[in-house]
């Protein structure tokens, strides 16, 4: 189809900066030349992505400054172009991408962890509603099946294991107390982002809960959990009480 070749040339011009094929397909005339007209679309796309990244990572943007942030986002787009039209999910690999940039790591070693926290807060905000854990069905399972139960974390519950205590930095931003000179201590920080009614919050968790959350993420069965040396029944009850576990299935 001729239309397919036209759309491909548009994509090449706007995303890959290869405008030759599209230029030949366009009418000339008017006050703008063909290349100026193509630049409008290149700019539109870039502005949309910068706006999305700024919305996903507002504190990161403030920490590095808008100019530097925009440059990083442009580089990020080249390495990790969007794979979905769902812009709420865009920027998923930004933390890992930043870890690969030496200058960022030298000046702000905590930046990737800050991104992880910001991204988790956004994903938690948009996550589906929790369903009530059906305790009656769970209790009715035969004993041999109960040991094969795999608990499921609610979609808005996102455990984070970070190398820097970025939560304090993030909170300073929320209260308008952010200082550009802030330094972020390098200390192992276990957090769980979870929605409190509608608002996602970062919650500190203790060691037994952290271990249990990790095991749940690894889809371990109840039998495997209970045979683990660091299993804490209190931690399991705590997660159930908080509503962070909202489903289960029986492993085959």
């Amino acid at each position: 189809m001729a239309i397919e070749a036209t759309l491909a040339s548009f994509r090449d011009a706007v995303v890959r900066d290869q405008s030759h094929q599209l230029s030949m397909r366009l009418r000339s005339g008017g006050m703008l030349d063909v290349s100026q007209r193509i630049v409008i679309y290149q700019n539109n796309r870039q502005q949309t992505l910068l706006a999305v990244m700024g919305k996903q990572y507002p504190v990161t943007k403030q920490v590095v400054g808008a100019g530097c942030f925009d440059q990083l986002c442009v580089r990020y787009d080249r390495c990790h172009p969007a794979t979905s039209c769902d812009l709420d999910a865009y920027g998923e690999h930004f933390a890992t991408f930043l870890e690969g940039i030496e200058t960022v790591g030298d000046k702000t070693p905590y930046l990737a962890d800050l991104c992880r926290l910001e991204y988790a807060l956004v994903q938690s905000y948009y996550a589906k509603e929790r369903s009530a854990l059906d305790v009656q069905v769970l209790n009715a399972l035969p004993a041999e099946q109960q040991s094969q139960v795999v608990f499921q974390l609610a979609a808005d519950v996102i455990p984070l294991c970070l190398n820097h205590d970025v939560h304090q930095l993030w909170q300073q931003h929320q209260t308008g107390m952010f200082k550009q000179t802030f330094t972020c201590p390098m200390v192992r920080t276990d957090l769980v982002v979870a929605r409190d009614r509608y608002k996602p919050k970062a919650n500190a968790v203790d060691q037994p809960e952290t271990s249990l959350l990790k095991a749940l993420q690894e889809k371990k069965t109840v039998g495997q959990l209970m045979s683990s040396l660091d299993f804490s029944e209190a931690a399991l009850i705590s997660l159930l009480h908080k509503g962070w576990i909202d489903g289960f299935h029986v492993a085959a």
Partner: protein
């Protein structure tokens, strides 16, 4: 055609944006309907989901999308469309509209409303995909004209002819963005009167009004400023030609306070009456 409960819309509405939600829910202004940019409200839970259902209890809603890639050559994303269909049912939305454009090619997302060549082949292609959407939704949809900054040499039809061709082939209605018509008329040097006269009265089911920026050598469709005097004049002409078509004030960037949007709506309402 439709088997679901759906509201009807009339008069001049406003495009719902997150930033105005708390004002709207608190003040419950006398706005006859809101248009929902559906891509911003597809979350499965949380505040947005609750808010959109709350809005649907209070106001008639129409749904408008930007990400379907309706004119593209990649297969339509039926999972995305299914989420829209479910939300339309939940909100009893009046209708669903999308743009006569493409926004993706293969795995590259363009995040813009990119113009199609206006050829018979494109018209057949777009009409076929509109039919696919309508069959899936079980109802008629609306397609909207987009702003553009260049024209393809291969375009054998003008934009109005192209839209009418797609509408007549697929049975869809048109969402006429008067600002986009004006922007394109300036950018490509055509006559707005001729454009509007080529579109039969019965095809226009909704009108959009928005603002643009005047750049060096062209107009940029920003949806980020008040409706300009030129566009108000063409809206007046359009209302005389097409009758009392539901009209929307659409503002996406540099969002003003709610009261400024409401003032724009009232201005449009005076002309609408």
């Amino acid at each position: 055609m439709s088997e679901r409960d759906q509201c009807s819309i009339s008069g001049v509405g406003v495009g719902l944006r997150h930033e105005h939600l708390s004002d709207i829910l608190a003040q419950q202004p006398a706005v006859p309907w809101f248009e929902v940019l559906v891509d911003n409200w597809l979350s499965e839970g949380g505040l947005d989901r609750s808010a959109i259902l709350g809005m649907a209890e209070r106001y008639p809603l129409a749904f408008h999308g930007v990400n379907l890639n309706l004119g593209g050559v990649d297969p339509l994303d039926m999972a995305y469309l299914a989420r829209i269909k479910t939300l339309m049912q939940d909100c009893q939305a009046a209708h669903y509209s999308e743009h006569a454009c493409f926004s993706r090619y293969e795995n590259d997302y363009l995040f813009d409303l990119c113009p199609l060549p206006y050829t018979q082949e494109s018209a057949r292609h777009l009409a076929m995909r509109v039919e696919q959407v309508q069959d899936f939704l079980g109802e008629e949809m609306l397609i909207e004209n987009v702003s553009s900054y260049f024209e393809y040499q291969s375009s054998a039809l003008d934009e109005a002819e192209f839209l009418v061709e797609v509408s007549q082939r697929s049975g869809c209605k048109l969402l006429l963005d008067v600002n986009n018509v004006y922007v394109n008329a300036v950018n490509h040097g055509f006559d707005v009167t001729e454009y509007l006269q080529r579109i039969p009265q019965q095809l226009v089911a909704e009108i959009h009004l928005s603002g643009h920026d005047r750049k060096s050598g062209y107009l940029l469709d920003t949806h980020g400023t008040p409706v300009t005097d030129d566009v108000w004049r063409w809206y007046h002409y359009a209302i005389q030609r097409y009758g009392h078509v539901p009209t929307l004030i659409e503002w996406d960037h540099n969002l003003p306070e709610w009261k400024i949007l409401e003032a724009e709506r009232i201005k449009a309402e005076h002309l609408w009456r």
